[in-house]
Amino acid sequence: MTPQEIQQIFFVECEESLAAAEAGLAACQAGTQDDDTVNSVFRGVHSIKGGAGAFGYVALQAYTHTFETLLSDVREGTVALDEALCSLLLRALDTLSDHVNAARDGSDPPDDAALLAELTAAQAANRGGLAASVPQTEPEPFAAPVAAPAEAATDDFDLDLDSLLDTLVGPAADAPAGGDPAGPEWHLHLRPHAGAMQNGAEPLALLRELAAMGARCIACDLSQVPALDAFDPAQGYLGWTFALPARVAETDVLDLFDFVREDWSLSTGADAVIPPVRLAVAQSSASARTPESAAAPAPAQAPAPAPTAATAPAPAPAPAAIVAAAPSAPERASPSPQPSAAPPSPPASQSIRIDLAKLDRLIDTVGELVIAQAMLAQRLAGDTGSKDELAMLEGLTREIQESAMAIRAQPISSVFSRVPRILRELAASTGKHVRLEIIGESAELDKTVLERLGEPLTHLIRNAVDHGIESAEERLAAGKPAEGTLTLSAEQRSGRILIRIADDGKGIDRARVLQKAIEKGIVAPDAQLSHEDIDNLIFAPGFSTAQAVTSVSGRGVGMDVVRQNVKDLGGRITIESEAGKGTTFTLALPLTLAISDGMIVNVGDQTLVVPLTHVVESLRPAPGDVQGLGSSRQMLNVRGRFVPIVPVANHTGHRGEPIQPSEGVLIIVDTQALGQAALLVDEISDQRQFVIKSLESNFRAVEGVAGATILGDGRVALILDVDGLVASALGQNPGPGTVREAA
C-alpha cells in the first residue's frame, strides 16, 4: 500500500471519527452523558490527532491537541459538560471538520484562533486553581533525560496534560496490573523490527499514537545501532522505554500494536527491559554484531535503576547518558517479551475498504452482463431445451446485480448527519434555533445518489430555516413554540426513496409568490393558477421573494438548481404547504442510477420501456370502462375511480391514427404529483431488467424520456419519464414559468 493510499484511508477514517464525535456530542446535548458517549467523542478527536501527527498536518494536529485536552478534562469529569460547553464543543467539531478538509485539499487551514482561545479558556477555567500546584506535586520518578520539560511545555503538541491531571486526581481505577497503582506512570518497553518498516508501515506513526495517549519517551536504546560499515538500513535497531500515565490502560496501549505484533517486541512490568534486537533472517550475521568501532555506547551492563537517571533534570551531555537510561542488553531481555496481559488476537476484520473506481467497474460489467443475458435469452427464445438454464442464468444475473448494487448502498444517515452543523451555522447567522427530528436514517441508497443529494438537501434546509421558519417572536405571537422544528425523513417506497424536508413554519405566502412572479414576468397577470402551481413557482429560475438578500438564501438562485439537481438524479421534487403550519418538500429519488426493472412495451413501430417503479397494474379495458371527457380526453374507470388515459403514441411522433383503448393495453402508473394515469400502449412484450444509459450525455435531453437502454436484440429503446410524460399530456407542465410538476 502506498503512503498516498494510507493517507486516503486516514481521511476516510477522519470522516468516520468526525461522524462518531458529532453523534456523541449530539447525544450529550440531548442529555446522554455516560462514559461511553463521552469516550466516543474523545476517541474520535484523538484518532484524528494521531493521524495528523503521523502525516505531518501540523495545524490539524495543533488544533486537535487543544480540542482533545479539553475533552480529556470532560472525560475525567473535572469539568461539567453543560449546555454551553456542548455548544462550544460542537462548534469546535465543525472547525475540526474544516481543518480536515483543508488538510485533504491542501488549502489554508481555517482561522481557528478565536475558537482555540475559547477552548483554552474553558480548560483554564476548569484548571485555574490547579495549575499553580503542578510544579510542586508533579513527581518525576523516571525523569527522562531525553526531554527538557520547559521545551515540551512550549513546543511539543503532545504536552502530557493527562499525566499532569493524574497527579492531581490520582490514578484511574483501571491502572495496569504491571504498574504501581499508587504511582503516576507505568512503563512500556518496545522495539520495532525489520518488518515494522516494510510495506509502507512506519513505526514512528505508532510512537506518535503512543505520545497522543500521554506517553513520553524516557529512554532510547541506541546501543544496538551498528556503525555504518555494519549497518543494514532495513533492520530495526532502536528501542525505547515510554512512560505512560497510570490512567491509560495497558490493554488500550497494546491494542495499538494489535496488527503489527509480529513486527514489534513489547514488554511491560516492573522487571521488564527493552526487548532485544531481532534481525531479519535474510540478513547476514555481520549486521547483527555491534562493532567496537561504533560510537554508540555498549549495552548497559545491568538494569540501571531508573532513579539514577531520573535525577538528571536536564539532558545529559554525553550520548551514553541518553542511551543508558534503561537497561537494554539483548541478553537481559525478558524471556517472554510479549506482555502476559496481551489480549487475544482480534477476529479477522469483517469489512474491507474498496476503491470506488473498482466498484464502478464491477457495476458497469454487471450492466453489460444484464444486457448480454437479455440478448442470449432473446436468441434462445424458441429453444425450449434451454429454458431452465436461461431461467437459472437470469436468476443468477439478477442476484449478482443486486449484490453489486448492495455494495454501493449506504445509509442516508451519512447525509443527514451533516444537517446538525448546517442548523448550528444557521442559528448563528439567523438567530433562529431549530430542533431537528430525523426519521428513517437507516434507509439505504446508492452512494452516487447520496453524494449528489447533499447539495440540494443543504439548500432546502437553508431555505426552510431562512424563509419557512419564523423568528422566535413571530412564532410566539402565532402561538407556536419559540424553537422551530425541522423534520427529515426517508423511506423506501416501490423502488424509490422518498426524502421529506418538513418545517413547521409559516408556509408559502402564495399571494406574495404570485405577485413576485407577475412582477418578474414569469406568469401573466391574468394567469389562473392553482395553489400547487403557485408553490412550484419558487423553482422558476431567478425567482426570489426574500425581502432582503441574505448570506443564507434569497439570492434567487438555488431552488431552480435544486430542482435540476434532483432531476439529474432521475428524481422529482414536490411541495406541500399550508399557511401557518409549514412546508414539506418531498424528493423522490431512485435507489440506484444504473440498473432497473421495466416493462417493455410497443407503441406503433417503437419499443419503449416503462420503469416498473411506476407501474401499478396493466389491463385491457372493456368498452364501457372508457368515458370521454371534453373534446379529446378519455378517462378509465378503474373500479369506480376515474383515471386519465394518456395515449403514449401521441408523444412518440407516431404517425397515423392512434389505437383505441379497447384495442391496446392500459398500464396504470403512479406519478409523484398527479396521482395515477393510464398509459395506452399497443402491447406489452416483456418485463425485464434494463441498464440505464443517459440520453442527455449521449444525445440531448428529451421531454418525457428518462434515458435509453439496449434491448436483448441490440436495438435501443427509450425509457419513459412517466412523471414528465403524464404532466405534459395532461397539460400540467406548460412551461418553466408555471411549473406544476417540479421536475
Binding site: G56, V146, M197, L204, C220, P233, L238, A295, A316, I322
Partner: protein
C-alpha cells in the same frame, strides 16, 4: 567535509537509497547532513543518522521541524541535533 542532503520524504526507501552515500563518506572528518527539506521522516532514516553519528567524528545535522519532531519523539533530539547548536 562531506554534505549529504536529505529529500523531502525521508522514508525507508530514501534511507535505503541514501545509505550508500553515507558509507561512501566514511573517512571524512565531518559529515554534514542537510535535512532542512525533510518533510517526512521515518525510523529508517533516523537509524541511518544514529549510525552515522557513531561513525564520524563530527556529524552536523541541519534539521527541519519535522526531523526535530521525530527526534524529540524518539528521544534522540539531544543526541542527533545538539551539534547543530555548536
Amino acid at each position: 567535509m562531506t554534505t549529504i542532503t536529505l529529500p523531502a520524504r525521508c522514508d525507508r526507501a530514501a534511507a535505503m537509497a541514501l545509505f550508500p552515500d553515507f558509507v561512501a563518506a566514511i573517512g571524512a572528518e565531518v559529515l554534514e547532513v542537510d535535512a532542512r527539506q525533510a518533510e517526512q521522516v521515518g525510523l529508517a532514516m533516523l537509524q541511518v543518522l544514529v549510525s552515522a553519528k557513531g561513525s564520524f567524528a563530527h556529524v552536523r545535522v541541519m534539521p527541519s521541524d519535522t526531523l526535530r519532531e521525530a527526534a524529540r519523539l524518539t528521544g534522540l533530539e539531544t543526541y542527533l541535533l545538539d551539534e547543530v547548536a555548536q
